[in-house]
Every structure is written in C-alpha cells, then in structure tokens.
Symmetry: C2
Subunit: 159 residues, 2 copies
Amino acid sequence: MSEQFVYHPIGIIHSEHTDPAHGPIQPCYADGCLGTVEVFDQYVEGLKDLEGYSHIILLYHCHRARPCPMLVKPFIQDKEHGLFATRMPGRPNPIGMSIVPLLSREGGVLHVGRIDVLDGTPLLDIKPYSRRFDRVDNTRNGWQDEVDDETASARGRRP
Amino acid sequence: MSEQFVYHPIGIIHSEHTDPAHGPIQPCYADGCLGTVEVFDQYVEGLKDLEGYSHIILLYHCHRARPCPMLVKPFIQDKEHGLFATRMPGRPNPIGMSIVPLLSREGGVLHVGRIDVLDGTPLLDIKPYSRRFDRVDNTRNGWQDEVDDETASARGRRP
C-alpha cells in the first residue's frame, strides 16, 4: 500500500459560488465577491494576530472537483498542458490555494474579499501572506505569458 | 467522526537538509541550496510545460514536524502569535508550502534552487507560480513587519 496522509477540516469557507461550472477561477478575477472563513472553535486561538496581515493564503480541499487527466486545457487557454503546469482543481491531491485580502476578523470568523472558492469548501490551513516569503518579482510565467490580460480576465471570471 | 481527506505522495523532495532543528525556514533564506523534486512515474506527463515557469509552488507533507500548540513563538521573533499567523510546520494539517526557482526539468526530476525542505519530504502537489495569481504588491505583513530584514535573515537561516 502507498503511504497516505489523513487530514481533517479546520473550518469551512462560505461564498456566493455554488456552481462548479461558473464563478471566478482565481481571486484576481473575483472582485466584489465577499466571503467568510469559519474556523472551528478548537483552532480559533491560532488566529491571534492574523488580522495584522492584509492578505492570507487559504489552503482547502476541492471537494467538488472531478479528477483531471494528466494533460488538460486550462480555463484561460485552448491548449493542452500538463496538469501541474496549470491550477485546475482536479489534482491527484485536490488541494486548492487562494490568496485573498483579509478584511476583518471577528473571533473565529474571517471576512475576506475576492473569494473564488465554492461555498461549503472544507478549509485545511491558513497561512499569512508574507512579502518576504511569497512575493516574487520578475517571473517567467510559462504558457500564461501567451495569454493577454484581457482574455485571461474575461475567461477567468466565468460569468 | 469528523470528515477526513486521504492524500498520497506524488513524489519525494531531496535536499541537503536532514536535521529538523537546523536549515533555512523559507526559500528566501536558502540561497545556494540546490534540491531535486522526484515525481513518480504515473504523474510525469502532468509536468509538461512546467519548465516555462521560472518559479513553482511545492506543497508537501511536513513529515517530521511535531504538532504545535495554538500559540507559538516563530523562528524570527521572540513573541507569541497564533499558529495560523506564522508559517511553523507543525500545523493541524501539516502542509508545507515553498516557492522555489525551477532551474531545469529532466523527465520526472525537477532541479530547483533555494530549497528549504527536509530531505525525503513527501510531495503533495506542484503548482506553477503565476504573476497574475500569486504576486501581491503593497501588503501589510503583521508581526513580520516588526522584524528587520537583517534579523529575519540571520535567524531564518538557522545555520
């Protein structure tokens, strides 16, 4: 048997997005979409000082994603690429990642902006977004550099 | 019983770091540390076109992390913060995340720079780092803004 790791939800993400076939594919295409992140009681103490950060990284289990083949066409381009060269949700381990603005915290409830996550998604982890650790300037962005901003934005919103 | 998710490794991360008590805490403190990411055969097709990206996001299972309490002192500051306001590895779901430069790919082997991950760490996912999705300018960085770059760098290297 292959090695395995068992994870449990630490909370639930609430949003206006209920249809896996529609809605923004990333926070940058989700302006105006407010959401809440509900963290379960036993983990609330671990949120102390998170509100000092303007942005947080949500890791979550893509509970409604169907497994993808190893070659896929991403949402914003009609060319086939390797699954790991895309952000498609149906990965071998379907861990989703979204970097969202943290608007405020009330106890175990985080109010966030630009939420692109489906309503009811199980939360696995929260990390603070750090200028030192997470911002990379001057990147090459593979096939995404072939897609202009206007096309990416129009297709990434999935209205 | 609480809901649970079962994940499997898709590969293994190899590095020079073998002692959980030493070594860089993040890629930005790991200059000169070369590593390889070995992706298992059944997933290699999914790496197609990844080499077009200058940086990739590794998600992995922190297999040697001990569970942390909900309040912790991070490596680079002697003040207590909520676990989720830090990047400590011993999280309820111990998913580590590192953004590293991708130097080259040979089939299922990725050569990466600035590796901060312990040797033998099970790989969960690879995502391409995208300027559009992952770079955030003008962030507030909570307690980390209280730590000057020199202190963060000296303590973050953990020689």
